[in-house]
């Protein structure tokens, strides 16, 4: 399938971060078009487009928007929240959009807010994204000055306030209800659902939450028309996605592709294949939380249904390429460490289970585990799966269980040989952030009385 750029179109040749540049390619025309339409008609376009959420869960955006009550039917305000907390390991596509086509994103936010009859939109931005913060706030300033948001948007009589809120460094605040708690000024921990945010979200009011990329797609849908947009991609997976390609690949980066493109096209043709004459060993197709694919599955198309058939997910669109240097136990340990560290601690199976997983994986990696402990590991994954309050626990259990399922012999060798067959070589080079960086972060945490012992044992487990 050919490369097809919708969102990042023209971004290579022009400066679209400035309003003038964006307007020159027809920017904000979709907003004018939307404001001339009834809200219901805009929603109908989104439904026709059948665009699925780009944040991870892949829920159809139009359907989600249609769950919100009509503004006349609720005494409460309606809110729009843009999820820009992008923190799933391997994922860096939202930052590309925010940095290079901020106005496209802003336009998407304004149109989505109009569609659901919201007067207040919030952008929840990952705290570490400082440059993105500056670019987006500058774009918002320009858009406000030009009348695209603020009081009486383009003379329509409708007001929209947009607030940028910067997160404080928690992966769980990307989960929609954890995000809402954090936005309300509370501890970022997920809420139990139902009620869903569409009914009772921010400040217990109807709220639509969408990912940055999903929202950035909205102007394009209006430009093309929903039906036409739906013809891009493959069945059930309409449109394009920006894939973040990383790991052991020559040309890592963000690539916008039509859905249905195969992993092989992305890795070999676009990404330039594996460097240093190494072999492809495995692929994580949708961010660190999804089950792994083996080299044999490299022809799987990047669309929702094909991925589901292969037993994994498109997730956040982060494709992590793993070559034959990589020890899958070390990878499992690294992934489990991430989720242990990011577990919010609210529900039991995730809080306790991820820590136990790390302890078991560490023991296996050190060659000290017994056969029984490998079974315990699998059973712990199984006991986390489906029992947690939010999907984070699953996000730790699913990938690790898949590493054992697909690379069991490697785990077995650790036990049989009493050591890591990769001989301590840093086999994770280039795949995910290095552990020592993570360690340094842990050590730098401020002293809290009573948890010293805990932290030492943790850092020890990492080191």
């Amino acid at each position: 399938m050919p490369r097809r750029e919708l969102l990042l179109e023209d971004a290579d040749t022009r400066d679209l971060t400035k309003l003038a540049g964006y307007e020159a390619i027809g920017g904000y025309a979709s907003l004018r078009k939307a404001l001339d339409m009834e809200r219901q008609a805009v929603l109908a376009e989104l439904l026709d487009a059948n665009v699925r959420g780009r944040g991870g869960a892949g829920f159809p955006m139009g359907r989600k928007a249609s769950f919100l009550p009509h503004p006349d039917d609720t005494p409460k305000p309606i809110y729009l929240v843009a999820n820009a907390d992008e923190s799933e390991p391997g994922t860096f596509k939202d930052r590309e959009i925010l940095l290079r086509v901020p106005h496209l994103f802003v336009e998407g936010v304004v149109i989505a807010a109009y569609t659901i009859g919201s007067g207040h939109a919030f952008i929840y931005l990952r705290g570490e994204y400082l440059a993105e913060f500056e670019v987006v706030t500058a774009a918002l300033e320009e858009a406000r000055a030009a009348g695209y948001l603020g009081k009486n948007v383009l003379g329509s009589g409708w007001d929209l306030t947009v607030v940028v809120h910067r997160g404080a460094g928690a992966y769980i605040c990307g989960e929609e209800t954890g995000l809402l708690e954090s936005l309300e000024g509370r501890r970022g921990q997920p809420r139990t659902k139902p009620p869903f945010p569409a009914i009772s979200g921010l400040y217990a009011s109807p709220t639509l939450i969408n990912n940055v990329e999903t929202l950035a797609t909205v102007p394009k849908i209006l430009e093309l028309g929903g039906k036409k947009y739906a013809r891009i991609g493959v069945e059930n997976s309409a449109g394009t996605r920006v894939f973040s390609l990383s790991g052991n690949v020559v040309n890592g980066g963000n690539y916008e592709l039509e859905l249905g493109t195969t992993l092989r096209e992305l890795i070999d043709e676009i990404g330039g294949g594996i460097p240093d004459g190494r072999e492809l060993k495995a692929i994580i197709p949708g961010g660190s939380s999804v089950p792994v694919l083996t080299a044999a599955e490299v022809d799987t198309p990047l669309d929702f249904d094909s991925m589901a058939q292969a037993g994994t997910m498109l997730g956040s669109g982060a494709v992590i390429v793993i070559d034959d240097r990589c020890c899958m136990v070390q990878l499992g340990l690294r992934v489990a460490q991430f989720y242990m560290h990011e577990s919010c601690g609210k529900c039991t199976p995730c809080r306790e289970g991820t820590r136990w997983m790390v302890q078991l994986l560490r023991k296996i990696e050190e060659g000290e585990a017994t056969q029984g402990e490998l079974d315990v590991l699998l059973n712990v994954c199984d006991r986390i799966l489906g029992n947690c309050l939010c999907p984070l626990g699953d996000a730790a259990a699913m990938p690790v269980a898949s590493y054992v399922a697909k690379f069991r012999d490697e785990f077995q060798r650790h036990i049989d040989e009493g050591a890591c067959p990769f001989g301590g070589e840093s086999s994770l080079a280039g795949v995910l952030a290095p552990v020592d960086q993570h360690d340094a972060h842990l050590r730098s945490q401020i002293e809290v009385p009573g948890i010293r012992a805990e932290r030492e044992s943790l850092t020890e487990a990492h080191g």
């Binding site: 039991t348 809080r351 029992n387 809290v448």
Partner: protein, 733 residues
């Protein structure tokens, strides 16, 4: 009603009922840890309640679900998937739990222990060192925290956040490192902190006053009622070897929903205070007091009273049981022929039409709080009900010098009159009047030291009910625990007669209890009395004025009846036996000497009471409800004394409660502080009536200009107006 199927059994349940309750209604247990409906909506944190719901692939936290028609639920009893989920959760919970049950105070009454026995694995697969924390951490002088035992159900933090709303107890860190903590390790200092001890389903939060003192199998729990404020929370008094070892709540959903304040929970040990009076004392000329036998003390009492003729005044405490008050009233009225009394609280029959349970506050649209005394200091649990009302979106309006409407001190009666008049409402009350007018349900709370308050608030209630057609509930907060019952008993015996103590010489003064003994008005009477008979648990300034002192007892040592602020008679039970005769017993003996027959047992006395016509059928003649005397204007600032909850004889004797005592602070309005150049936290000199005291300045943005507030115990000997100046300059304005 909807039809739900649980484990194959059809159940009819009210729509929206929590499934945990629905299952319980047919005897099916869904185990829970974090679920506690009193803490607000379920949070689904612990996952202990996982069940299978037909049509859903994943297990569901049953505590977050409600009964809907056609719902089919399978608990661990019938679903293998649910049983698997449940055993997984218990394994995870126990993974890092120290299992130090043999030396844990919770052992034997621990939900975690119980559920582990019922549903848990018999052994562990955990081979790694368990997570350790420093422990125990004193989160206050009252509460010790063991973070290793904590299972992070967040019940305590949810209580702090959304019931008492003090926000002091929080979760810190995240994931497996999550801990319960107070901000910057400050002590958890709040009126209701002790409730977290009972909410904790494990031994993570334990009481410093009960730790390592007793085992569940060697204690007895006596159901009784707290006698420390007019709410009358229902409690269990845990006793061990004849001593009260702790107080637990006994949930009465209409009175206190199971919450207790820290005074009620922790002050019990004053029973065993070293300085408690144990023997009768009789004044011996020049030598002061001498210990006397009970018989000799009664002889002296009889002689003193006889000498006084009918010139007798009785000062009640409001802590007497109804039976005790009745007995005393009969001695004074029938035996001695006097109708003169000093009552701590008065009652107006007009209010009986607006009686409602405290829980009705939560259902109000508008709650109006009148009077200068902070509700939480006077009747703490009422404050929790008002917070619940606010959370349920009621409008809660406090009218007082530091309230939402900043009224002048002592103006509550005037405010009632203004609101009743309707016309020409003062500007500051206009919004309030509007809210009251449109309300369907109004709760009026009177929290003022003005015994005529009932009349004013009753008249306002009448107006709202008759003309505004609102349902109205009135809560007059007495100053004392049984002030309402004591007043009723006094009037009932005298068929409504009552004389004020009067001026001039008094033949004999009977001081009944410690609160009366510490009342300055009583001290004034004692100075004029030829003979003073006092009952008290502790020595006070007044016992020095007395001629005969009889040792008193506590509410935990008596049988009898208390009437709480709702007008609800509640039964006190003797949790522990006092070391001598209780008041009722010696009153009966004294009565006999004056030809009055009184049964020394509470139950028959109560029955006698029950035969009397209900209080509201009496046309009581009472001193006219005069408008409270206007306070003289003058230089300086107007003083409002705060009667703090954490004060009084009982609290003073509990070392662990000292940190809760009111700070030696004077609250100033912003403007008053800045004109005097006073910064918050600064030491200032407060002068009044020739008394000077050094206090810390506190700034209150909501306080009315020209008014200061000082806890009563730090305002002793002050007049109605005070001067405040900086300590360093000493200049006063």
């Amino acid at each position: 009603m909807v039809r739900v199927t649980i484990d194959g059994q059809e159940v009819l349940a009210p729509k929206g009922q929590g499934l945990v309750e629905t299952a319980a209604s047919v005897g099916i247990e869904i185990p829970v840890f974090c679920y506690e409906p009193r803490l607000g909506p379920p949070v689904g944190a612990c996952r202990m309640c996982l069940c299978e719901v037909e049509g859903l692939p994943k297990l569901q936290a049953a505590c977050t679900l409600t009964a809907t028609d056609g719902l089919v639920l399978r608990t661990a009893r019938t679903s293998e998937q649910a049983a698997g989920g449940q055993s997984a959760i218990l394994e995870f919970i126990l993974l890092n739990h120290p299992l130090d049950c043999p030396d844990c105070d919770k052992g034997g009454e621990c939900p975690l222990q119980d559920l582990t026995f019922r549903f848990g694995p018999g052994s562990t697969r955990m081979q790694f060192p368990k997570r350790t924390f420093d422990k125990p951490i004193p989160i206050s002088p009252l509460i010790a925290l063991d973070r290793e035992r904590c299972i992070l159900c967040y019940r305590c933090t949810r209580f702090s956040e959304s019931v008492s709303e003090d926000g002091q107890l929080v979760a810190a860190n995240r994931g497996a490192q999550s801990i319960i903590a107070t901000f910057e390790d400050e002590p958890y200092r709040a009126h209701f902190s002790g409730n977290v001890l009972e909410l904790c389903p494990v031994g993570a939060l334990t009481s410093t006053t009960y730790r390592f003192r007793a085992r569940p199998w060697e204690i007895q729990n006596v159901p009784t009622v707290c006698g420390l404020c007019p709410v009358g929370c229902n409690v269990w008094a845990t006793t061990r070897e004849g001593k009260v070892a702790r107080i637990l709540s006994r949930n009465h959903p209409e009175v206190h929903e199971g919450w207790l304040c820290d005074k009620g929970r922790f002050a019990y040990d004053h029973l065993r205070a070293e300085d408690r009076l144990r023997t009768p004392l009789v004044r011996v000329r020049r030598r002061g007091f001498e210990e006397a036998s009970h018989e000799a003390a009664l002889d002296a009492a009889e002689a003193g009273l006889r000498a006084a003729g009918s010139s007798v005044v009785v000062a009640f405490s409001g802590g007497e049981t109804v039976e005790q008050a009745t007995a005393l009233a009969r001695i004074v009225r029938e035996g001695l022929g006097s109708d003169a009394a000093l009552l701590p609280d008065d009652w107006d029959a007009a209010l009986d039409a607006f009686r409602a349970p405290l829980s009705a506050i939560r259902d109000a649209d508008v709650c109006l709080i009148l009077g200068d005394d902070p509700v939480v200091e006077r009747a703490p649990v009422v404050d929790l009900w008002l917070r619940a009302a606010r959370r349920a979106e009621a409008e809660v309006i406090a009218v007082n010098p530091a309230g939402d409407v900043q009224a002048a001190p002592g103006s509550a009666a005037q405010v009632c009159a203004d609101l009743r008049e309707g016309k020409k409402v003062p500007t500051e009350l206009r919004e309030t009047a509007k809210s009251l007018k449109s309300a369907k349900r109004v709760a009026l709370v009177w929290s003022e030291d003005d015994p005529t308050g009932g009349r004013h608030v009753g008249a306002l209630a009448n107006e709202l009910h008759e003309n505004g057609r609102a349902e109205v509930a009135v809560y007059v907060l007495p100053r004392t625990p049984n002030g309402r019952g004591v007043a009723t008993a006094w009037y009932t015996v005298g068929e409504g007669r009552s004389d004020p103590p009067g001026e001039g010489e008094i033949g004999a003064l009977v001081v009944s209890g410690d609160e009366a003994a510490s009342d300055p008005r009583v001290a004034d009477l004692a100075a004029r009395a030829s003979f003073v008979l006092t009952t008290a648990m502790f020595q006070s300034e007044l016992t020095a004025w007395s001629h005969v002192v009889l040792p008193g007892t506590s509410y935990l040592e008596r049988e009898g009846t208390y009437v709480n602020l709702e007008g609800r008679p509640q039964r006190l039970r003797r949790a522990v036996v006092p070391f001598g005769p209780d008041e009722l017993e010696w009153l009966a003996q004294l009565a006999e000497r004056f030809g009055v027959a009184i049964d020394p047992w509470a139950a028959p006395t109560a029955a006698e009471q029950a035969d009397l016509p209900p209080a509201d059928e009496f046309a009581w003649s009472r001193p006219d409800p005069q408008a409270p005397p206007g306070k003289p204007a003058g230089p300086g600032l107007e003083l409002v004394r705060i009667g703090a909850l954490f004060s009084g004889a009982a609290v003073e004797r509990i070392p662990q409660l000292q940190f809760q005592r009111p700070a030696a602070e004077v609250e100033l309005a912003h403007e008053d502080a800045s004109t005097r150049g006073i910064a918050p936290g600064e030491a200032v000199v407060v002068t009044s009536n020739g008394t000077s005291r050094e206090l810390r300045a506190g700034l209150n943005r909501k306080l009315r200009v020209g008014v200061v507030r000082i806890p009563a115990e730090h305002a002793k000997d002050f007049g109605d107006r005070v001067q405040v100046s900086r300590l360093s300059t000493g200049e006063s304005r």
